[in-house]
Assembly symmetry: C2
Homo-oligomer: 316 residues x 2
């Protein structure tokens, strides 16, 4: 059980037969977020933690960007249920000697993300600790009904918003001390400032059969969709959306651009599936859902590509 997903599977089984309370749980552990009926309409609930030394290094990101990022990363799981963030509570652990100016900047970043996402900050908890951490619980309301990971069907197309691999490239540039290269700044910004999704949520509600946010790497997150839906997928490497300057900078850092786009984490773009005849979708088609239960990536000549690991996992 050393792997993150093994730990989550065990949790899921453990709580499947939990006490039934008067809050009806519609979707429990295992999807991007839980769906609960508080006595009116279904509410989305999700929690995400950003931990110093694991999710960020303080010399690579400002406190304001960190606060902004923590809320947007959590909101991302709400968007990934075709839902709109409405509120958030935030638990902060601050190391001893954390400067007041840094605290204010952190909160300003949280406030900025609150306005950008629509998740109003309604409460929280302050504690000191060995390292800085930000744990954000976000609530949201579905546009129509929540879209899960489990609805992908053979023949569906696979779409992603924005571009892939940019955040991982930005982090690699920072870690290599190469953020002064041409175009590097936009990728660094891409890692520091994950995207805010708004209008796409209505599109998802209209036509998506399954959705997930890309936090641990496109391929790994797609595998979650396929596992939940009981299907497989084919991805076309040539169709992966890449930002201007991406290929050149990958080459400079000796990174494989396709591997980085498919396995680099923290893009916080949305991946979704929709029927092949759905029209006018403002996202890039990168492949299709198939009956065979495996996820294949094909190169420009149609040959399968193998990767060492499909994305980021804790505890492995």
């Amino acid at each position: 059980m050393h792997d993150e997903f093994a730990k989550i599977d065990w949790l899921k089984k453990r709580f499947e037969k939990g006490t039934v309370s008067f809050s009806e749980v519609i979707v429990g552990i295992g999807d991007d977020a839980a769906v609960i009926d508080f006595g009116g309409r279904p509410t989305i609930v999700t929690v995400d933690a950003q931990v110093e030394g694991v999710h960020f290094r303080r010399d690579l990101i400002s406190c304001r960007e960190l606060g902004r990022r923590a809320v947007i990363a959590a909101a991302s799981d709400v968007w990934a249920m075709a839902s709109t963030p409405s509120g958030a509570v935030i638990a902060l652990t601050l190391p001893n000697g954390f400067a007041d100016a840094d605290y204010r900047e952190l909160i300003e970043g949280i406030a900025e993300a609150s306005e950008l996402t629509g998740a109003r900050i309604i409460g929280g908890n302050l504690s000191h600790g060995h390292s800085l951490s930000i744990t954000t619980t976000v609530f949201g309301l579905p546009e129509a009904k929540p879209i899960m990971r489990s609805g992908a069907r053979p023949g569906d197309r696979i779409y992603v918003t924005g571009e892939l691999g940019g955040a991982a490239l930005g982090l690699a540039l920072l870690q290599a001390g190469a953020s002064d290269l041409e175009n590097a700044e936009s990728f660094v910004a891409r890692w520091r400032r994950p995207p805010v999704h708004g209008r796409i949520v209505q599109e998802l509600a209209r036509c998506a059969t399954s959705t997930i946010d890309i936090s641990d790497g496109c391929l790994q997150d797609l595998q979650h969709v396929c596992a939940a839906s009981g299907v497989g997928a084919v991805i076309y490497a040539k169709d992966l959306p890449k930002a201007p300057g991406y290929l050149k900078l990958c080459k400079t850092l000796d990174l494989d651009p396709v591997e980085l786009a498919l396995t680099g984490g923290e893009d916080y773009e949305l991946l979704f599936t929709a029927p092949a005849d759905a029209a006018g979708i403002p996202a890039t088609s990168i492949g299709e859902i198939v009956r065979a239960r495996e996820v294949q990536v094909l190169d420009d000549e149609g040959r399968p590509i193998q990767f060492d690991r499909p994305g980021y996992r804790h505890f492995s």
Copy 2:
């Protein structure tokens, strides 16, 4: 702003004029918990963090008790709004090498508390980190309307459930390596296993004018009630409820029993105020609310007692 409450005040002001979203916030930052209307009935939301090295040392408590304690400490803020816990999401940060057996025990403790409190575990987040931490967001539903900190009126009596100082004594016994003294085990258990409140919630809904949970020390938490209500209080030291063996063990450890009862943290009992003519309240009256805006503690002869500090604060 080095003090926890100064940091919270600043936060409260910062978010007072936040974006108004479609979730109506009824009570925001500053009470035990937030109250939000998700489109049906008011829902209580609160978050609490338990951080290794700050809230606990792993050599003093088992993983099972830790999991149980984390959920009950968070649920305590829901009870303190005269409300009943209904659901929870939990963010776990596990240090590298955290044993599977410990993980299972932690989850079993969380499950046990879930059943005891009625807070069904609906989701969570797993991350690794430098030290173990458990951040619990609990939801609940008010019995009638939520009772705040702000409703205490001059003439009201002040009540506490259970006994005071027992948890702090238990921790002191553990830290002194004195848990084999006579009666010590019950106080150690009192610290490790905070109380579950159930039926008292209906009583609070029936007659309480204000409520708070005693997490940072009775006196400090009472001061929060007085500040929010614009009143003061008189506490009678002789009326403080103490468990059997408490006085003798305090003496053995050279601890002042009144000071420990009033300023020792982590009792997780409920403090509330109710009109003097309210009958049949299953709790101990320890004093009364007065008009003069200060909190006084009187000894057996009616003389005021001073303490160095009223309770626990982060960052001070």
